[in-house]
């Protein structure tokens, strides 16, 4: 183990990790918002919205993320030119929304009907019921699968390195290419990824404890 290599590259790697974190965070937020809309569309009674949501999930769940990234970065429609970072965030958001949408839909559907009826019976409107009754219970139910997807998203964000976003993965590759020391470069990157995903898992445990139904 050549520690001087690790220390020489430390700032380079940490900057990469910061990229990975920002991309993942932005994509999680955007992906979740989009997924929520998709889930509501899927649950609506309007056939058109239902079909749109179904088709979206069908396509984006079914094609590789790397392909989506290529299309958005190199062949975005309407002559749109995006930076690598923008393309990366948008690509991951679009991709992860298809997974999040199914999870959110399952959570909403799993809230017992009686809960909603009790809210209707005191005159709460559809929006109030969604925000105050359905979602608090759906969130609790969906934490494990949702966090599972969030961890996958963070790891898969490494794929933005193929469109030259200087994230942790790309920097690890660069460092390896100039040193040919796999443990000190790729190994260190692996540890950093593990630290980031571990933080997410700790957050999951905390959230589950926090949301446990109190007795």
């Amino acid at each position: 183990m050549k520690w001087d290599v690790v220390s020489n590259y430390s700032e380079f790697f940490l900057e990469g990790a910061l990229y990975t974190i920002s991309i993942s965070l932005m994509a999680t937020v955007l992906g979740t918002l989009l997924a929520f809309v998709l889930a509501l569309m899927r649950l609506s009674h309007l056939k058109l919205l239902k079909a749109f949501s179904f088709t979206y999930v069908w396509i984006f769940r079914g094609v590789p993320l790397i392909l989506v990234l290529f299309i958005i970065y190199y062949a975005a429609p309407f002559g749109i030119k995006l930076s690598a970072l923008q393309a990366g965030v948008i690509g991951i958001s679009l991709n992860s929304a298809s997974f999040f949408a199914e999870i959110i839909r399952a959570g909403i559907v799993a809230v017992p009907k009686g809960q909603i009826e009790a809210a209707k019976a005191i005159g709460m409107g559809p929006m109030q019921i969604m925000w105050r009754v359905t979602l608090p219970q759906a969130v609790r139910l969906t934490i494990p699968p949702y966090m599972n997807s969030a961890v996958i998203l963070l790891k898969e964000s490494a794929q933005v390195s193929v469109i030259a976003v200087p994230d942790l993965m790309l920097r690890a590759q660069n460092a390896y290419n100039s040193t040919y020391l796999p443990v000190e470069t790729l190994g260190v990157a692996g540890v950093l990824y593990l630290v980031m995903t571990s933080l997410l898992m700790m957050f999951q445990s905390w959230a589950e404890r926090k949301m446990r139904l109190k007795t």
């Binding site: 009674h45 809960q115 019976a121 005191i122």
Partner: protein, 256 residues
């Protein structure tokens, strides 16, 4: 107070309510009994539009319940918004309590007053404390529903409904999901309410309640009101309406 005319409800070809007519006067306590599948709960749930009738008219306090449905037979968004008054005037208590498990007892009770009637939080809390006192649960105010027994949960559910200041209370088999020893605590609250002059419509299998507390008993059979009379008339052992005596025997667990 409640005036139902020619109420019909069907699911596809299955007619659950057939031309039901019912009038309930202010302060009256009406028990609805009948075999399972006879349409008791559906009738109750049509009154506050948890089920959307397929036909007929409902008037609450002389105000017609008007609504439009979409092609799936559900209320339109606008109709639901325009019927808030109905849900404020008519309170409902469910068999399964349906308290919101993510909210405390107090939060369950003040939810409607603060979010629907839009009264101030302080006012709602004062009211809730008073109501929880009334149902004997003032000490459980900050507990979560899962920490309460079934009987306690149902009493909270009654307080939650009363918090809206309803003029009419609907009870949909309020004691059917309770352990037998917990039934009484809920019935006692209902008797208290009845004595205070609340207009009540109660779907129940508690024949003692129907007999001794209600002003009127309705026996439903195959989607229609078969009998509608005083407890004395309906529970008359000589009443020879087909199926009635057998139903009462079944309810009372008479083993022959």
């Amino acid at each position: 107070m409640i005036d139902i005319q020619n109420l019909n409800k069907s699911y596809g070809d299955n007619a659950v309510l057939k031309n039901v007519n019912l009038k309930v006067n202010e302060g009256e306590v009406v028990s609805i009994i009948g075999p399972s599948g006879s349409g008791k709960s559906t009738l109750l749930r049509c009154i506050n539009l948890l089920e959307v009738p397929t036909g007929g008219e409902i008037r609450i306090n002389d105000r017609p319940v008007q609504f439009k449905t979409n092609r799936l037979g559900n209320l339109t968004y606008l109709s639901r918004r325009n019927l808030t008054w109905l849900n404020i005037e008519v309170g409902m208590v469910f068999q399964q309590f349906n308290l919101w498990p993510t909210k405390t007892v107090l939060q369950n009770v003040i939810e409607g007053p603060t979010k629907v009637s839009k009264i101030s939080k302080q006012e709602a809390v004062d009211k809730a404390v008073e109501l929880l006192n009334k149902v004997g649960l003032a000490d459980k105010i900050n507990q979560y529903p899962n920490n309460l027994s079934g009987g306690q949960q149902q009493r909270v559910a009654i307080a939650r409904a009363l918090a809206m200041d309803p003029k009419i209370m609907l009870f949909d088999e309020p004691t059917s999901a309770l352990d037998p020893e917990l039934v009484n605590e809920v019935l006692q609250i209902m008797v208290k309410l009845a004595n205070e002059g609340m207009t009540m419509l109660v779907v129940t299998h508690e024949m003692n309640f129907a007999r001794s507390v209600s002003d009127r008993v309705i026996f439903m059979d195959k989607g229609q009101i078969a009998l509608n009379g005083t407890p004395k008339e309906v529970f008359d052992p000589n009443n020879d309406y087909p199926g009635l005596q057998q139903f009462i025997k079944n309810i009372n667990h008479v083993i022959s």
